[in-house]
Assembly symmetry: C2
Homo-oligomer: 297 residues x 2
């Protein structure tokens, strides 16, 4: 029996960086008060989601990993509260820039970093303008309470990432996220699709999934995003067992006996009946018919 409680969180962000960090710290305090052992904060919470525009001025938000104000504020909190905190930030690494996830262990130690592998680049999500493709590969962090596969937002659409994190020992997959309803796509609502893809990763890998999304409406030059919250936790069958609403600052928690989950995952037999001899095509580039043209309407 190894019970671990996960918290997903969500909040709106402004251009007051110190206030955003203070709000994130407040969410961590409140999550810990609810019994959370692991707290997932949303993607890039130190600022508004600046990737809505392409503007060189936003590179000023990037910091080296050892000089990030959110990490500096949250490490002592992880020590004080004995919680693991997953922190997404804009990393400057020499001349390169990454959308990075830091994992602070309970106790305050920085366990390491994952750099977002899959970078979206469409209107309102202009991440390729800012971020290099991550060079860490898919990463599992061995925290005090469990082994956490840490990925970021767009990574959540890729079953390859989820599977590799599981093969590397992840018991839970976490996804700090920034996604919403897009003024450029009226009538199209990705929320259920977004959840369904990750619920599928949970079901197909028999791992816990925890995703924290942003709330609030943010305006860019070319349109707006109404971030729809819906931060959720899915069990190893893909069922949503905790979910936040669409609009408010919120915390949702769920508790699992990870030993029981591991035993069920092992016994279900998926991993022993894989056919690795015929999976080679997964490393091949998709055919042109599946590839978008950036210039398409």
């Amino acid at each position: 029996m190894r019970e671990v409680t996960f918290a997903v969180t969500q909040m709106a962000c402004t251009w007051d960086r110190a206030a955003n960090i203070a709000n994130a710290a407040d969410l961590v305090e409140k999550a810990a008060a609810k019994g959370a052992n692991v707290v997932v904060l949303q993607e890039l919470f130190e600022t508004p989601y600046f990737c809505i525009d392409t503007d060189k001025a936003h590179f000023a938000h990037a910091t080296p990993a050892d000089a990030n104000p959110a990490l500096e504020a949250l490490k002592p909190l992880a020590e004080k509260l004995d919680v693991v905190i997953a922190v997404s930030f804009f990393e400057k690494a020499g001349d390169r820039f990454f959308n990075t996830l830091a994992m602070i262990d309970a106790g305050g130690e920085l366990l390491g970093f994952y750099r977002k592998s899959h970078i979206p680049d469409f209107p309102n999500y202009e991440e390729a303008f800012y971020f290099d493709q991550g060079d860490t590969g898919f990463t599992v962090f061995d925290t005090k309470f469990c082994r956490i596969g840490g990925a970021v937002c767009w990574d959540q659409w890729f079953p390859e990432a989820a599977r590799i994190m599981t093969l590397r020992g992840a018991e839970v997959l976490i996804y700090p996220t920034a996604i919403g309803r897009d003024s450029n796509m009226p009538g199209y609502d990705s929320k259920q699709h977004w959840q369904q893809a990750m619920q599928g990763h949970a079901a197909s890998n028999m791992v816990i999934v925890a995703a924290s999304n942003r709330v609030g409406v943010e305006q860019g030059e070319g349109g707006s995003i109404a971030f729809y919250g819906g931060s959720f936790i899915a069990n190893q069958f893909g069922d949503k067992v905790a979910e936040a609403g669409e609009d408010d600052t919120e915390i949702a928690t769920a508790t699992f006996d990870l030993d029981a989950v591991a035993e069920m995952r092992r016994r279900w037999g998926m991993f022993r009946t894989r056919r690795t001899d015929i999976y080679g095509a997964l490393t091949e580039t998709a055919p042109p018919e599946l590839m978008d043209d950036r210039a398409a309407p």
Copy 2:
């Protein structure tokens, strides 16, 4: 605009092979009357699900691909009704035996065969006793109406299979199935888990998924399976848009504009932002902690 209507079907089976085939034909007739262009029949419908036991006598049900009574009965029906029919059968190929899917094109032509890749081997699902691992690789059939990725039952748990079929051009993934509530696992109900995994494949690949399951209770020497139906069709977001009940002979249909689905899949950008350079681990065997021991309770 390219509208295609899919039908999933379900029925109970007995040891009267001719009656099972006649019932399957009846389902095809009725599905066509509902406008279906593609009909998916459940797994191994010519007999009860004999893999519930390990009994050499059941090898007598296997037939060569060119002498299977279900295929012989259904080919003329595909011609008469102008429907595609996916037919699961127990194939004898020389000294080898496979759990095979045949795709009959509208018009009655046999397009080819897929041999089930992932073979389960646990109590009540003793398929490794009967079937060799498939040697065809994941297969896409270019039918009159659409490109169909054809897989079988246990394959449905593997995101690798779904992804590879999509990369090979599948617009819909079909899964003839035999799964139910197991007397050896009281209190455990896999139905939602089973659907969730496939809904995830739909969402992560933005393809249609259509699964046909068996109904009825079948008794083996070591236990029983209460096949729970729930045959369903999911759209490219993973939402179930048609679903049958748990107990009865039933047909569920759904219609999609596959051109619109393809355009949405292309524009969503998943395939152009894949990171094939870091997917190599997918072809590696899982670590021991994820592997079951056949002898485990």
